[in-house]
Symmetry: C2
Subunit: 510 residues, 2 copies
C-alpha cells in the first residue's frame, strides 16, 4: 500500500534533497521523520537525507547508534554509524545538536521498520552538525520531572512526551471540528476584547492601548481616555456573544482563549486557557444538553481506543502511547478512555440527590462534614462521586439558584422551597468538573426580573437583552476547559504541561 | 441516496418532535432547516415540525407563503398556509418572529425541492409564535447596506448574506485544518498574553488584572504591582513563540486572534483580528516558502470552483453564492477563485524589480511620482501590480533591510549597495498584501549583531535567542490575515463584515 521512493544513489546533496522533497511532500519541503518512517518510506537501499535533533548516542565497537527526532512523531530515526570510533572522535556529537545525515536507507533489525546507515567511507554519504548545543543542554535522555522541564520553556517540547501532547492536542482539535461539522454547527469567533462582563466582576483583565495608559491619571475618565471609547476587558467566557450568534445560525461553537485573573495557582487553572463553547437553539429540555455533551465526548474518544494498537495511525492515541515510558501512564490513559466509552449511558443526578449521597455514603458517621442543602459541592466531593461512588463520568444537574449566574432559567421541576436552575456540570473521576452548561433564560420578562433582583447594570446589557425581544427562541449551551480534557485523556497531572506557554499568576515566561 | 423519514402522521407534537429529533440528528436536537431540505429530507406527506425566523410573508387568496430561515443554510423553508385570511388575521405574523410549524411535508412546485403545508383545518397541524418582534425590527426583506447593518450587531447575522459569510468562514477554517494536517503540521496555541514585543512598540495593548490597575499610581512599579510580575501585552503576532514550537515539532501552525492598537479605521484593518501563522523547519530557500504559500491558497480555493454549481454541497461555495442577490458579487467571487487557480504558477518578482516596473509602466511620464530604491511600495502600487499589470496573485520578494524586522536574514543574492532580506509578501488584486513571510535568521551571531545594531533590548529576548544556541536549524514562516482572505474570496469589501463583532478604534459594541 505504501509508495516507495526510488532515487539515484549518488549525486550532490542538494539535488537529491530537492527530488526527495518534491516526491515526499509535494510541497517543496524536506520530508519529516514521520513521512520517512511511516507515511511514505523511501525504497530500501536508496540514498536518503534525514534531519533532526540528536536524542541519544551509543557507541559500540563496530557501529554507533544515533537516535534523531524532529518532533513529527514520537519515534526517533535510528542512524547506524559505521566506523564509530573515527566518526565520533572527529564530529563531537552531542545530544540536542541538530544534524543532517545522508546515508543508505535499510530495513532495520530493531524496533523500527527502517534505519539509516551512515558510512564515512562512502563518498556519497555525509553527516553534518547544523546547530551545536552547549554542555549544559538540559534535555538529556534521563528521567526528569514535568515540573523541572517547565524551567526550560523553549526546549521542553523536544522531549518525546511533551511533543506528543502537543500533537495529541492538535489531533483532538481536529476531532472536535469533525464532530461539530457533522452535527451542522458553525464555528464562529466571538470577540476576546469586550466591554461586558459574563460571569461577575473582579476576575477580569483590563485591556487598553499602551498609548492611552500613558495618559494623565487622577482625573475623571472620558471616552477619549479609552482606545475603544470605554473600559474594555479580556473575555472570561464568550457565552453571551455565542448566544447572539446561535440565535442567528441555530447552532454555533467556538474554541478560543479565555482569561481569568484569579489569584490561584493549581494544577487545574491557567490565567489564559482555551475554552470550547457551544450554543444550541430550539432545545427545551436540559436532558438534550447532557445527551449532546455525552455524545460529543464519546465521539472524540472512540478512535483513541480503536486506534491505540494500530501502528499505522498517524495521529492521536498511538503517538501518545508510544511516547510514554511509564507503563502506569498508559494504563491510566486506557482506563480513562474505556470508562468514557462504557456501554451504559453516564449517570445523571440532581444537586439535591448528590448532597444526599455525599451525606449518606461519603460522610457516613462524620457528623461535622455534613452538607446542608445550598452548600457548594467541592472538588473532593466531585472526585469522590465520579471516581469512587459511580466510577463513571457523571452529570450533576439543577444546582441552587443562588450559586449560579443570572441567565439560567428555573428547573423544570422547580420547588420554591429549594429553588434550583436548569443547569448541569459534567464531573470526571480524578479531576472533577470538565463541562458546565445550562438552558439560557430566553423570556425577556423573566430575565430582566432576575437581573433587577441581582442589582445588575441593565443599561450595559441592553445588547444581550435585545435578543429576547427580537424573535427569541429556547436555547442552551455549555463551556469546556480544553486543557482539562487534554490533560485527562493523556494522563497528565497538570494543565501547565498540555499548553505550550502556560500563563499563571506571577509567571509570564517568554 | 437520501434517507427518508417515515413517521406517523398524527400524535402530539412532543412525541413526534422527539422521534424526528432522534432520527434526524442522532443528537436529540431538533433538525435544522438544512437537515430538512438537504441532508436528510423527511418522507413526502409525513408530518414534520420546523422552526426558524420569518424572513418574508406573502398573502395570496387561496394560500399564504411564509419563508422561514434558521441560519443553517442560505435557503428558507417555504411554509404554505392554507386559509390565509383567517390565519394571518388571527396570528399577526411579522418578519423576524421565531415560529414553530407542524404540517405536511410535500414536494414543491417552486425553487426548493420541498415545502411545508400548514392547514388550520387539520387538527394535527399547528403554527405558533415562539418569540415576537417589535414593529421596529430592522432586518426586513428590502435592500440595505452592510454599513447600515453594522448598526444592529446582534441581528445583522439574520440576513442571508452575513450568515453565509460566517458559515463560509467556518468552512474555510476546516479546509485549512485539512490542508495542514495533510502536510504533517501540528496546530499549536502560542500565548496571547506576552511580555515580549514581536514587531515594534507603540501599537500594543497592555493587559493587567482589574485589581492591579487599581493599585496606587505614581510610584516606581515593582513586580508585585503586576499580576504576572511584569508588564504584559496582548500579542501582535505569535511568530516568535511559533518559531520556538516549530524548532521542536518541525512544522507548526496556528490560527489565533492578534491585537494591534493602531489608530486607523479602514476597510482592511481591525484592532482584534485572526491571523493564520506557520513556521517550517529545514528549509533553506525563500522559494520553498512562496511555493508552499501558493500551494496552500490553491488548496483551500479549489473546492470552491469545483463545487460552486453542486447544489448538494453542504458548505462553502454554493452556500455563499446562493445567499447573494447581486449577480455582480457572484461574478467577482468566481473571477477571484479562477484567478487563484490559474494554470500558470503565480509570478514572483523582487522588490527591486517591482520598483522598476512601477516607475517604467505605472508612473510612465509622471516624473514626480517616481519611486526611489528604498521607498515603500504602497497599497495602490500593490493593487496596480497584481490587479492591472500581472492580473494575478503576485509574490514580491527581497525587500530592503531597513523596512523589515530584525529576525530576517540577508537575501541569497545580497548586494551590500542595496541591502535586502530574504522575505516576501503575497499581493492580491484589489486588496494588496495578504501574506507576509520570511526566512528567519537562525545563526546566533548574525541575529545578535542585528539586534545590537538596532539597539534592541537583548536581555528581554534571551528566551528567543536561546533557540539559536540549542540545536538551531534553518527555518522560515509567514502570517496571513484571515479576515482579508475571507473578504477577498467572498467578495466582501470590508473586513468588518466577515468577523461577527469587529473591534476598531472608538468602537467596542456589545
Amino acid at each position: 500500500m505504501l509508495n516507495r521512493l526510488s532515487v539515484t544513489k549518488t549525486g550532490p546533496l542538494s539535488s537529491l534533497a530537492r527530488l526527495q522533497r518534491a516526491y515526499l511532500s509535494g510541497t517543496g519541503l524536506s520530508p519529516t521523520i514521520k513521512e520517512l518512517l511511516l507515511v511514505k518510506p523511501p525504497a530500501v537501499d536508496s540514498t536518503v537525507v534525514a534531519q533532526g535533533h540528536i536524542r541519544s548516542i551509543r557507541q559500540g565497537k563496530s557501529a554507533g547508534f544515533v537516535d534523531v527526532s524532529d518532533g513529527s512523531i514520537h519515534s526517533s530515526l535510528n542512524i547506524v554509524v559505521k566506523n564509530p570510533l573515527e566518526v565520533f572522535s572527529k564530529l563531537q556529537l552531542k545530544v540536542g545538536q541538530s544534524i543532517a545525515v545522508k546515508g543508505q536507507w535499510v530495513e532495520s533489525q530493531g524496533t523500527q521498520e527502517y534505519e539509516l546507515v551512515y558510512n564515512s567511507n562512502d563518498s556519497s554519504h555525509s553527516l553534518s552538525v547544523i546547530g551545536d548545543v552547549p554542555e549544559s543542554y538540559p534535555i538529556q535522555k534521563k528521567a526528569t520531572t514535568y515540573q523541572n522541564l517547565r524551567n526550560y520553556p523553549t526546549l521542553r517540547h523536544r522531549t518525546s512526551t511533551l511533543a506528543s501532547i502537543l500533537r495529541f492536542r492538535s489531533y483532538m482539535e481536529a476531532k472536535f471540528f469533525e464532530f461539530f461539522n457533522s452535527r451542522d454547527f458553525v464555528k464562529v469567533v466571538p470577540p476576546l476584547i469586550t466591554s461586558s462582563d459574563c460571569e461577575g466582576a473582579g476576575e477580569q483583565f483590563v485591556v487598553e492601548s499602551l498609548a492611552k495608559t500613558k495618559a494623565p491619571i487622577g482625573k475623571e475618565k472620558t471616552p477619549e481616555d479609552y482606545f475603544f471609547g470605554k473600559a474594555t476587558y479580556m473575555t472570561v467566557s464568550t457565552q453571551l456573544h455565542l448566544e447572539v450568534l446561535a440565535l442567528s445560525l441555530n447552532r454555533a461553537w467556538t474554541l478560543t482563549p479565555c482569561f481569568r485573573a484569579e489569584d490561584s495557582n493549581t494544577n487545574r487553572h491557567l490565567s489564559e486557557f482555551w475554552m470550547l463553547e457551544a450554543e444550541i437553539c430550539y432545545i427545551d429540555d436540559l436532558e438534550q444538553l447532557t445527551a449532546f455533551t455525552e455524545e460529543m465526548i464519546r465521539y472524540v474518544t472512540k478512535d483513541l481506543v480503536a486506534k491505540a494498537e494500530d501502528s499505522l495511525t498517524t495521529g492521536g492515541a498511538v503517538d501518545l502511547i508510544g511516547s510514554r515510558f511509564k507503563k502506569e501512564d498508559i494504563e491510566i490513559m486506557k482506563g480513562r478512555w474505556n470508562s468514557i466509552l462504557s456501554e451504559e449511558k453516564w449517570p445523571s443526578i440532581t444537586y439535591t440527590e448528590a448532597i444526599e449521597i455525599i451525606n449518606r455514603v461519603m460522610n457516613k458517621g462524620r457528623s461535622k462534614n455534613r452538607l446542608q442543602w445550598g452548600d457548594s459541592i467541592q472538588t473532593p466531593h466531585e472526585k469522590w462521586l465520579a471516581g469512587e461512588h459511580f466510577k463513571s463520568p457523571l452529570f450533576i444537574t439543577d444546582y441552587p439558584s443562588g450559586e449560579k449566574p443570572f441567565y439560567m432559567p428555573k428547573s423544570k421541576n422547580f420547588d420554591p422551597a429549594r429553588p434550583t436552575v436548569a443547569c448541569y456540570d459534567l464531573i470526571l473521576p480524578e479531576i472533577g468538573e470538565l463541562v458546565g452548561g445550562s438552558m439560557r433564560e430566553h423570556n425577556y420578562e423573566n430575565l430582566i426580573a432576575e437581573m433587577k433582583r441581582r442589582d445588575m447594570n441593565i443599561e450595559d446589557m441592553q445588547w444581550y437583552l435585545s435578543t429576547r425581544i427580537n424573535g427569541t427562541v429556547p436555547h442552551g449551551g455549555f463551556g469546556m476547559g480544553f486543557e482539562r480534557l487534554i490533560a485527562y485523556l493523556s494522563a497528565m497531572e497538570n494543565v501547565k504541561d498540555v499548553i505550550p506557554f502556560p500563563r499563571v499568576p506571577e509567571s509570564c515566561q517568554c
